[in-house]
């Protein structure tokens, strides 16, 4: 990104480009979908077989590989849908309420 654009909540009407064109490709990555979440995935690494099925199934591409070869969700984007927990072969992912 060439410049650090203003966040959606800082933009005034005069900042908008003609026709609300977005000339800064990929700026959707600024959008924090993580605050939609009510449950978050927690990985028990002792049971993780590093198969990456959670990475493959995550519909938001929020799961990434960590240095130890396991996988975890980026909570800035993870919406807490629970698909990773549902698909995990070993059942090592648990969805826990955000409040805990």
């Amino acid at each position: 990104m060439a410049k650090t654009p203003k966040s959606e909540l800082e933009l005034t009407w005069k900042d908008l480009e003609v026709g609300c064109v977005i000339s800064n490709p990929g700026n959707a990555c600024q959008y924090k979908t993580g605050d939609w979440r009510s449950m978050k995935p927690v990985v028990d690494k002792t049971h993780c077989i590093r198969c990456g099925v959670c990475y493959i199934f995550c519909p938001d591409m929020a799961v990434h590989k960590t240095e130890d070869g396991c996988f975890e969700a980026d909570l800035y984007y993870c919406k807490g849908c629970g698909i990773c927990a549902r698909e995990c072969f070993t059942g090592c992912i648990t969805m826990i309420p955000e409040v805990e």
């Binding site: 005069k14 003609v18 026709g19 609300c20 064109v21 000339s23």
Partner: protein
């Protein structure tokens, strides 16, 4: 200037579009717009116009195609009527919000139901708030001139908004009138090549038509409203330059014997010429009457209208559509609001007439004047609006 020829107004409109050298025409035939698109299809097929004529399967597709072609920087034209406009409704609002300078001729026709193909303004009033520049014309020459005007204003980088030229169906589209064509040099000097503010191009990728969250939607409304309001100086400039080139001087609010007149008719579109005859006859009888014609409907010319209406005691607003369950016609409702709190605000009397092509003659307008003259000098709500000529 070019040749003065007698021909059907629809054909003149199509010839103007041809002379404007459009790149893309996407339209679906619908009465009474048909002759315009048929003629354009012919000139493209005959190789007289190097353009893509896209025969879409519906008006919804027509306006969608227009958005796409305008977004890549092609000069784009479409044309519809009534139900066709209703079907494209969803995309009409998007064209304006994306600031795509599409030009549309709307051959005004009543909306169903009951099914009717004849002329009134219920179609355009259904999309009043769509964000397009909207102008009305009275005769064939004005149609020809305003197609040039529409491309010129729409594509101006300071405007970059779509424009609707409202042409009364049948009453204008299907009559034969003398029309002075523009010569190609005049068109060239008036209408520069289309240089869009933004365009879809792989060398400089942009996103158009993105999602707007609650955190930004309010700002987009303000930006769009301001864009339409700020289009007015360019509109006035385009009319002024046309006056310099053609000698025909168009204004947002046209006046006819309006100065000092106690009663003013307010017209839009082709009924204006009939009302002018009625004004002549009434004045010959010593009546203090004049006429205003609203040429520019959006952005509304507040300043010009208040100036033109100043001093009048009564304004007879002629509406060609009903705001069902409201205060009569959409135009009169708005005029009352425009004049509210003006010093010595005139009484606004609203006659709703000429629905679905029902003839309104000089004698009818004189009868409306007489009826209004007998009304209270102050606003009486029971007299707010009258559907003229309805059989009780």
């Amino acid at each position: 200037m070019g040749e003065r020829v007698g021909l059907e107004v629809s054909i003149a409109a199509a010839e103007a579009v041809k002379m404007a050298n459009v790149d893309v025409i996407a339209a679906y035939p619908i009465t009474p717009q048909t002759h315009i698109v048929e003629h354009l299809a012919e000139v493209v097929a005959d190789g007289e116009l190097d353009a893509e004529f896209i025969p879409v399967e519906s008006e919804h597709s027509a306006m969608s195609v227009c958005c796409g072609s305008s977004a890549v920087g092609a000069r784009t034209f479409t044309c519809t009527s009534s139900q066709g406009l209703a079907l494209m409704n969803e995309i009409v609002f998007i064209t304006a919000s994306m600031r795509l300078p599409v030009v549309m001729v709307l051959a005004n026709r009543s909306l169903s139901g009951p099914l009717s193909i004849w002329n009134d303004h219920s179609d355009v009033m259904s999309i009043r708030d769509c964000g397009w520049v909207q102008v009305f014309v009275e005769n064939g020459q004005e149609v020809f001139d305003h197609i040039m005007f529409a491309f010129r204003v729409a594509e101006s980088q300071k405007v970059s908004l779509p424009i609707i030229v409202n042409v009364d169906g049948f009453i204008l589209t299907h009559v034969i009138e003398p029309v002075e064509f523009w010569d190609p040099e005049t068109v060239k000097s008036y209408l520069p090549p289309f240089k869009p503010v933004n365009r879809l191009h792989p060398d400089n990728p942009v996103t158009m038509g993105a999602f707007g969250m609650p955190g930004i939607y309010t700002e987009t409304r303000k930006a769009q409203d301001s864009a339409l309001i700020e289009a007015k100086p360019e509109i006035l400039k385009a009319w002024q330059e046309m006056a310099d080139l053609t000698g025909r001087n168009y204004k947002p609010v046209e006046s006819y014997h309006a100065e000092g007149a106690e009663t003013l008719f307010l017209t839009m579109g082709s009924i204006g010429e009939t009302v002018s005859v009625a004004v002549d006859e009434l004045r010959a009888e010593g009546k203090s009457v004049g006429q205003l014609s609203l040429r520019l409907w959006r952005p509304f010319p507040f300043e010009e209208f208040r100036q033109a209406a100043a001093g009048a005691k009564r304004i007879i607003v002629l509406d060609r559509a009903v705001s069902m369950g409201g205060q009569g016609g959409p135009v009169a409702t708005e005029i009352r609001s425009v004049l509210y709190k003006e010093k010595n605000m005139p009484v606004v009397t609203n006659f709703l007439c000429g629905f679905a092509g029902r003839d309104v003659t000089v004698d009818d307008y004189k009868a409306m004047f007489e009826k209004a003259s007998k009304m209270s000098k102050r606003r009486v709500r029971e007299e707010d609006y009258i559907i003229y000529g309805v059989r009780e």
